[in-house]
């Protein structure tokens, strides 16, 4: 079983702030939320069924993040470097970077914390004409089939598809392991391959501005009965009740 797990290095969104009306992007990097779940799932599958678990990352090349993922148990990481990638060119880059791997399963997180577009796994599945199982919260392999449970808002479904397939996972699927110090140290010896890829992005960022939610801060006074009635009126006006 050969598994490819995608992970992305992003700016730590919890630290991005608006300073003097500008976004302050001078923040540390991190592996995007849930990408560790994708890597964990890939490593668990490898441990269970043998084969390899390869990580792919496109965009920011951060050695520390890459080593963290290797420490979790990936066999190697491939880093695609280039100028700027949109979702489509990211999917193309991942295909390019793993073209020599006979991949049974591509695993991604349901979305990344920077773009939140949830689109790379779907695009990759389309480009390779493979089945896509998205928002997966549990998963098992049965011969050449993958059976997955997913939640789509109010619905929960059990899906089945033939391998090879593409999967996007939610944070529920597993609990990413915390590597031991020894695994961290061994990760330094694992291979990291660099691949240059000149992408032709279809979507370009023109501007990036802060998004500030200005709350109304209406203090409702009076006794509790009056206050509650006023509140209900306001909430109806806002269309949330």
């Amino acid at each position: 079983m050969n598994v490819v797990a995608g992970f992305k290095v992003v700016l730590d969104d919890t630290l991005i702030k608006v300073v003097n009306g500008q976004l302050d992007f001078n923040v540390p990097l991190k592996v995007s939320n849930y990408d560790k779940n994708a890597v964990e799932e890939a490593v668990e599958l490898k441990e269970k069924y043998g084969g390899t678990a390869i990580g792919v990352t496109v965009g920011i090349d951060d050695r520390k993040s890459i080593k963290d993922m290797l420490a979790m148990g990936l066999d190697e990481v491939r880093v695609v470097k280039g100028n700027y990638f949109d979702a489509l060119s990211t999917a193309e880059a991942i295909i390019e970077a793993t073209k020599d791997v006979k991949t049974d399963l591509y695993i991604f997180a349901e979305q990344t914390t920077d773009g939140n577009t949830s689109s790379v796994p779907a695009m990759l599945a389309s480009l390779l004409d493979l089945p896509l199982l998205s928002y997966v919260k549990s998963l098992r392999i049965d011969g050449r089939k993958v059976i997955a449970e997913r939640s789509l808002g109010l619905n929960s479904e059990t899906l089945e598809a033939e391998l090879p397939a593409v999967i996007s996972v939610t944070g529920e699927i597993n609990k990413p392991r915390v590597p031991t110090v020894r695994q961290v140290l061994e990760a330094s010896k694992k291979p990291i391959k660099y691949i240059e890829f000149s992408s032709q992005p279809k979507v370009k960022i023109v501007e990036l501005n802060p998004y500030v939610v200005n709350r109304k801060r209406v203090i409702i006074e009076g006794n509790m009965k009056e206050a509650v009635d006023k509140l209900i009126t306001y909430l109806k006006e806002d269309g949330v009740l």
Binding site: D12, T14, L15, K17, N26, V27, P28
Partner: protein, 90 residues
């Protein structure tokens, strides 16, 4: 304009541990009049209840280490958290 403590703490990045890394000995605190911890701690981690007990808001902790010398009566058990704060300027 003075900036409220909680607003200042809110500027920092915390990855709060699920379990507290600070404990106090209720029996000591309830008898303690001075409550040095409240004056020393720069994060307002220790809050006194009217009955004299101390509530520990461990999620505010700046990991400065003052807790290790803030209580002369040895009430505070402090260890560093597994995650906790990450400074970006430092």
């Amino acid at each position: 304009m003075m900036v409220e403590l909680l607003k200042r703490l809110g500027l920092n990045k915390y990855n709060v541990d699920p379990k507290p890394h600070i404990e106090v000995d209720e029996n000591i605190c309830i008898k303690c009049k001075e409550k040095f911890c409240i004056r020393v701690c720069p994060a307002g981690t220790y809050e006194a209840l009217p009955d004299g007990r101390i509530v520990v808001h461990y999620e505010r902790c700046l990991e400065c280490g003052a807790a290790l010398v803030a209580c002369p009566y040895g009430s505070i058990k402090f260890r560093f958290p597994e995650n906790g704060i990450s400074y970006r300027y430092g």
